[in-house]
Symmetry: C2
Subunit: 176 residues, 2 copies
């Protein structure tokens, strides 16, 4: 079965075999479907990212471009890097991303949470965050932090994040 | 010359020779004196920390105790760990501390900034933060973040930190 999406022909498949899941997305990947839709999405911390594709994704959410060489190194030094793919047997498409830094022992901080605007409003960001928190919990981290832009504060609140506990404020320092 | 401070006899010295500075505190250490006072303080990212002494320092600022084994690992996975010592040739005393996590490329986050209450209000925290920002700048990081408790918001503001740029909020998630 073939259907059209954004000008490309994508084979539709409603399930992924366990073997395929691991072959394409690596271990510890997490498969889910959207509500009211038969497309399959997969979160994975193991599948290698194409940095050009990542750069394009981050541009769709309007972020400042960063040199790819620096992004590559930043990912290497992150403690968790997660891609969210719209599944396709041959050409999975990167539609979401997030990463965490931190000591990996006492705390972690989530950065660069992005979902392609075309796929927003379908619960993908929520699944992505669920996957991240579960992975961090698995390595024993009990406190996770993030800096939320004004427009996504509600999104995190709804998912049980506590905003500014005890009057905490976030502060940024920029080198000249 | 001997003077009394908190029940212990501490040799007073107004300067440290360059050799002594490196021998005691390691390379890249930063020596300064307080205003109106002749005590010498030293920030260092190289001098090894005594974890018991660190635990005692963090208790003086009223923080929840954390298992020392986990703290040790957290320090190992931090990208910058800084001690602030009141100088003494034989027994430097740890009076301040801070550490940073992050990818070390695009961003860093400052954690656990602590100055022993006995030494607060003398500009030590300011010097400690200056040292940290300089070190982070040296490795090319241009954006540094931190979560400021309500009571220290003014402290960071005065030093040029930007609070909640573009309406950012900090959000915390705690594992059950």
């Amino acid at each position: 079965m073939i259907f059209k999406n954004q000008g490309s022909s994508i084979k539709k498949s409603n399930t992924i075999s366990k073997d395929d899941l691991i072959n394409i997305y690596g271990s510890y990947s997490y498969e889910f479907t959207q509500k009211n839709n038969e497309e399959i999405f997969v979160c994975s911390k193991c599948k290698e990212l194409d940095l050009i594709e990542l750069d394009q994704l981050l541009q769709t959410v309007g972020w400042t471009r960063r040199p790819i060489r620096r992004v590559k190194r930043a990912l290497e030094f992150s403690i968790l890097v997660v891609g969210l793919w719209r599944h396709d047997d041959k050409f999975p498409r990167l539609v979401g991303f997030a990463r965490c830094t931190g000591d990996g022992i006492l705390e972690a901080t989530v950065w660069d949470v992005a979902v392609n605007p075309v796929y927003q409003g379908q619960g993908l960001g929520k699944e992505l965050m669920k996957y991240i928190l579960r992975e961090l919990k698995n390595i024993g981290i009990s406190k996770v932090t993030l800096f939320a832009d004004a427009k996504v504060v509600t999104f995190y609140k709804r998912q049980g994040w506590i905003l500014e506990p005890r009057g905490s404020k976030c502060a940024f320092w920029y080198a000249n």
